[in-house]
Structures are given as C-alpha cells and as structure tokens.
Amino acid sequence: MSALSQQQQQGLAAIVDKEMSVFKQKQEKLTKLRQKQQTLMEQHSENEMVKAELLLLTPSNVVYKKVGPILMKHERSEAVETVEKRLEFIKGDQQKVEAQAKALEDEMQSIVTSVREKQMDMQRQAQEEAMKAAQQAKGEVEV
C-alpha cells in the first residue's frame, strides 16, 4: 500500500510541476498583453488630442498629412474622418486585448486553485504515511 501511495505522490508532484510551468507561460503572455494595453492607451490619447486640435482649426488653416518626406494637403473633414476611424480601430483592439487578459487571469486563477488542492492532498498523504510508519515502528518495538 505504501508503494502505491509513493507512486501517487510522484504522479501528483509531476502534474503540479507541469501546471506551474503552464502558469508561468500564461504569466508571460499576460505581461505582454499589459504592455500592448499601455501602447493602445497612448495611441488613443494621441489620436484624441489630434482630433480635438483638428476641430479647433478655422477654414483659413490648411491641413497637411505627412506622407514619407512630403506634406500632402488634406481637407480638414477628411483628416477628422481618418482620425475617427483610427480611434474606432484602437477601441476595438483595446476591447479584444482586455477580453484576452481577463481570460488569462481566470485561467491562471484556476491553476492556482488546482495546484493548492493537489498540494494539500500531497501534504495529507505525507502525514498519513508518517503516522503509519510511526505506528508500525511502535508495533515492532512492542512485539
């Protein structure tokens, strides 16, 4: 019976190790997603600012867009449209990344729970083993 428990112990420990490495991978992915979120936030701010400035312009201000080394004349309305489209795109990206991050966090949490359970199981088994060994030793001495 103790040989079986030892196998069970090793099996559990191996599974915990695997779950921990999966956890680490998810952790790294989550870090990258957070960085992406930061970048998206900055892009959002900058585009909001450009849109606000474009709306402050009067008809006497000429708008240009930099295309390579040249400035190309643009209609203000066109420029505003372009920036608004970009803002929509960014918002979509932000929502997608937020959902991915939340999913990862949930997955990581369930790994933590599962690992904790297994660690408690292993601890309980180890305690049972210790008690059994103590009883056996006592039994041998008394005889």
Binding site: N47, V62, V63, K65
Partner: protein, 152 residues
Amino acid sequence: NMSDLDSLSLEQLNQMKQQEEAKLQNITTNYQQLKSAQARFISSRSTLENMTPSFENSEIMVPLTQSLYVPGVAKDVKTVTVELGTGFYATKTVPEAVKFLQRKIDLVGKNADGLMQVVGATRKNIEAIVMTMQGKMDEIRSRREAAMGAAN
C-alpha cells in the same frame, strides 16, 4: 494593502520593495521626459513670440542639412506650420500657434504634475515597507538574543 504588510515574510517584503523601487525609477524617467518635452515647447513658444511683423525681410540662416545652412530672407512671418500629431500638420497664424503651444505646455505640465504625485505615493510605500522590514528584523534579533540568554 498597507495593513497586510505585517503578514508578509521578509523575503516577500524585500521583493515588494524592489518592485516599488523599479516602478519609482520608471516614473522618474517618464517625468524627466515630460519635463524636457515641455521645455522644448516653451522654447518654441518664445521663438514665435519673437517673430513680430518687424522680423519680416530680416536675414536668416536656413538649414539644408544638420550642418549646412544657406542665407535667406524671412518672407512670411505671419504664418507657420505646426505638427498636430500622428502625421498631421496645419498652418496657423503666429498668435494661433502661440496659443497652440500654450495648450501643449499646459497639457504636458499637467501630466508631469500627476506623475510627481505618483512619485510621492510610491516613495511613501517604500518607506512603509522598509519600516515593516526593520521591525521584523529587530524582532528576529531580540528573539535570538533571548534564546541565547536562556541557553546560558
């Protein structure tokens, strides 16, 4: 969060301290970048404020490359072109451009001030962690001394 500090071990506290110190480092760098951007805007604004109508037809040096200039004449001192961001530019009159730069200066200044506050909060966090660590180390030391005293 701060009341949980006592429940953490010395190693955990040390790790937390290092994380906060790294954060402080990053924020300080960002703050300096914002301040230097603000300085550039301020310098542009004062350049523009010097572009009065009397500047027209003054002799200027026009850069062809970073180290090559050619002499020129200031023709149009009433209109400038400014960068709005994300590759968009717009012409503005000098007063409009000065106002535009002022908006930038104020915005960047506000962001920098916000960062300063985070610097203060982070420094306080680090202080609290260090104090908790000190308390625990003192506790360990006095326990050790008591044990040694009992052994004797």
